[in-house]
């Protein structure tokens, strides 16, 4: 399951659960009761909710910090220099082998762009900003050979939507 699908399902389930609570409150609102017991119950729920969010959610959030795209190998086996311009991409070289990490060194000659790497199914698999004056280091390992697409994901002017280029992943040795 992709990160996108997991994120969408998690959001859908949480929003549906929240909607169920709201529908329940709406349907029960007509029945008048004293506020004190309702409020006391709400306070209990609030206390439980606080501790659940703190003791369950927070450790998960901290644990997920382990998954990030910022790590850069000291001597990456493959390096690709990426330069963004209004409105085209330059890759040096324009291909990389599967199976071993590729370090994309991404910069821009003019305005902010965003290097968005899409696989053959049209799914976004990695990205980083391309900024003038900065070089962002993105490490990615291609799993399958083929033609990948690079789309600009930071609005950069009139032909932003036309800033599409191809990048080739070749079969790596021993793959």
């Amino acid at each position: 399951m992709t990160v996108q699908t997991m994120s969408a399902l998690l959001s859908l389930v949480a929003i549906a659960a929240l909607a169920a609570v709201f529908i329940h409150v709406r349907l029960q609102a007509h029945a008048a009761r004293d506020y004190a017991p309702v409020q006391a119950r709400a306070y209990r729920i609030r206390t439980v909710g606080f501790w659940v969010l703190l003791l369950v959610g927070l450790p998960i959030s901290i644990y997920l910090l382990r998954v990030h795209p910022y790590a850069v190998a000291a001597s990456p086996p493959q390096i690709v220099n990426v330069t963004a311009n209004q409105w085209y991409w330059e890759f040096d070289p324009a291909e990389a082998a599967t199976g071993t990490p590729v370090e994309f060194r991404v910069t821009s000659t003019d305005v902010n762009h965003n290097f968005g790497l899409y696989d053959q199914s049209g799914r976004l698999v990695a990205q980083t900003q391309a900024m003038p004056g900065y070089v962002n280091h993105l490490t990615h390992t291609f799993e399958a050979p083929g033609t990948y697409q690079v789309l600009c994901l930071e609005y950069c002017g009139l032909a932003h939507h036309g800033m599409i280029a191809e990048f080739t992943a070749t079969q790596g040795e021993g793959q």
């Binding site: 992709t2 990160v3 996108q4 699908t5 994120s7 969408a8 998690l10 959001s11 929003i15 929240l18 909607a19 709201f22 409150v25 029960q28 609102a29 007509h30 029945a31 008048a32 009761r33 506020y35 309702v38 409020q39 709400a42 729920i45 609030r46 909710g49 606080f50 969010l53 927070l58 959030s61 901290i62 997920l64 910090l65 998954v67 990030h68 795209p69 910022y70 209004q86 003019d110 305005v111 902010n112 968005g116 049209g122 799914r123 976004l124 990205q127 900003q129 900024m131 003038p132 004056g133 900065y134 070089v135 962002n136 789309l151 994901l153 609005y155 002017g157 009139l158 932003h160 939507h161």
Partner: protein, 485 residues
């Protein structure tokens, strides 16, 4: 209500303030509809149903984004002013000054974008305003940025006036946030929820607007003297600090309607408790520090900022979910109310705000942001809590005003339910587009993406029609509202 509040509520200042509130809401309703139509045109173009020159698309995108942020703040400010002026004495000339500056600023922005052709988006990310490959002239960029600066100065004056009023009445902004109650367990001079929220807005918006002014002036200097360059990463930090804080503050202004109206409707008080105050203090700090979640794909940012962007964004959901959201549900639960348009809109607003937080927190997780950032997921989450959170609060306030502030008024709420359904459909298509990796801010979409755009366009028509109903209900009563009471 305190004696001071009673006095403030019945003098000439308050009546003039009410006049400005009505004018603000009229402007909000009209501009909102126009901006929604601009949004619809963009979705139709992405659907392949409307041939639109990309240059015009990006101009409309700039107008839509800038206009929506501005008008959300404008409507929210009117709502906040209306309720807070019942507790503190405010000078209505500030509302008038902000109104005038807003009109001048908006005129400049419209001229820059639609006549000058500026299409640098609301984010005006440095150095895009100055580097467009001659798509727009420098004067258009200068006029747009100058217009935003003028609008910002107006809001800054308004924030300073509300802050002055809070300090004069409660003895300081810390007391406006209720720290004497929170930390010292004091029992006197307890600020009502509306004042606590307004204090938070004053603090965060003042800082946000100063940051905005700084980067706007830097960008203007760069436009006039290109040799004077700005660090692009510093510019980006300033812009997102401003944008993130300012748009969030619009909800913190508008939620005052929930604090004021739900108790009036149900007869159940919304008390200023210590957990409530702790939540608002937490929100004040968090809103200011979590903006790096917009910069998670800027690998040049320091790692600690990324950690804050992820973890603190999650913690920032606590106050919304378990204090304000749960508090609203508790007040409504088994309260014996009969649902009408105002109460249903308020219920929807709390759902929209709370539910919108969920995809926002998901996207603020670095592992997710790596494959969701700047896809349609992003407009998906912020449209969720603006379209279904903020706007229903403002609509509820408008209709409440149109009903002479009579909380007993009945009538049906079908239009609110339909608004919810169309709104859900609309934002779901943004989120689905994000799931499918569709980039945001693209004038032209690939054929395989258009299904999400087409469904969204149909839903948008429904949202706009229902918004027109709410606005017309309000506009029809404006002549009566302007009569002296």
């Amino acid at each position: 209500m305190t004696e001071m509040a009673m006095a403030a509520g019945h003098d000439d200042t308050y009546d003039r303030g009410r006049l400005w509130v009505v004018l603000y809401l009229v402007t909000t309703g009209v501009v909102l509809l126009l901006m929604m139509l601009a949004g619809l045109v963009m979705r139709l173009a992405q659907s392949g149903w409307l041939a639109l020159d990309p240059e015009l698309f990006y101009q409309l995108m700039t107008v839509h984004g800038t206009g929506m942020v501005g008008i959300a703040a404008f409507g929210g400010a009117a709502l906040m002013w209306h309720y807070v002026s019942a507790y503190i004495r405010l000078n209505s000339w500030v509302m008038g000054t902000n109104f005038a500056l807003f009109v001048v600023g908006v005129a400049a922005i419209l001229a820059a974008d639609l006549i000058g052709g500026f299409g640098g988006a609301w984010t005006f990310l440095y150095p895009l305003p100055a580097i467009s490959q001659s798509v727009w002239p420098a004067w258009a960029a200068e006029l747009h940025l100058g217009g935003v600066l003028i609008v910002g100065i107006g809001f800054l004056l308004l924030c300073l006036e509300v802050g002055r009023g809070i300090i004069a009445t409660y003895g300081g902004l810390s007391r406006g946030l209720g720290w004497h109650v929170l930390f010292l367990n004091a029992k006197d001079n307890v600020p009502p929820p509306a004042v606590v929220a307004a204090t938070m807005v004053v603090i965060v918006d003042t800082l946000a607007l100063v940051a905005a002014a700084a980067i706007l002036v830097m960008s203007l200097v760069n436009l006039a003297f290109p040799a004077v360059e700005v660090d692009p990463l510093l510019a980006k930090n300033l812009i997102y600090f401003f944008g993130h804080t300012f748009i969030n503050a619009t909800i913190y202004m508008a939620v005052i309607a929930v604090y004021e109206l739900l108790p009036a409707i149900t007869g159940r008080p919304w008390k200023t408790t210590r957990p409530f105050l702790a939540a608002w203090t937490l929100s004040t700090v968090m809103v200011l520090v979590i903006f790096p979640h917009h910069l998670l794909m800027d690998f040049a940012m320091p790692r600690w900022a990324m950690v804050i962007g992820q973890v603190f964004s999650y913690i920032n959901s606590f106050p919304v979910l378990i204090v304000t959201g749960l508090g609203a549900l508790a007040i409504l639960h088994r309260s014996g109310i009969r649902w009408n348009l105002v109460s249903t809109l308020l219920l929807i607003s709390m759902f929209g705000w709370m539910a919108g937080v969920i995809p926002a927190v998901v996207d603020a997780t670095i592992a997710v942001n790596s494959v969701m950032h700047n896809t349609m997921w992003v407009p998906g989450h912020f449209h969720f809590y603006l379209l279904l959170g903020l706007l229903p609060m403002i609509f509820a306030f408008m209709i409440h005003m149109a009903r002479d502030e009579d909380v007993r008024a009945g009538g049906g709420d079908l239009t609110a339910i339909l608004y919810l359904l169309f709104g859900l459909g609309f934002v779901a298509m943004f989120l689905a587009g994000g799931w499918a990796s569709v980039p945001r801010r693209w004038a032209e979409h690939l054929a395989e993406w258009m299904i999400w755009d087409q469904i969204a366009s149909v839903m948008a028509i429904g949202v706009i029609a229902l918004t027109a109903v709410f606005v017309l209900i309000f506009l029809a009563r404006v002549p009566r509202m302007l009569h002296p009471r």
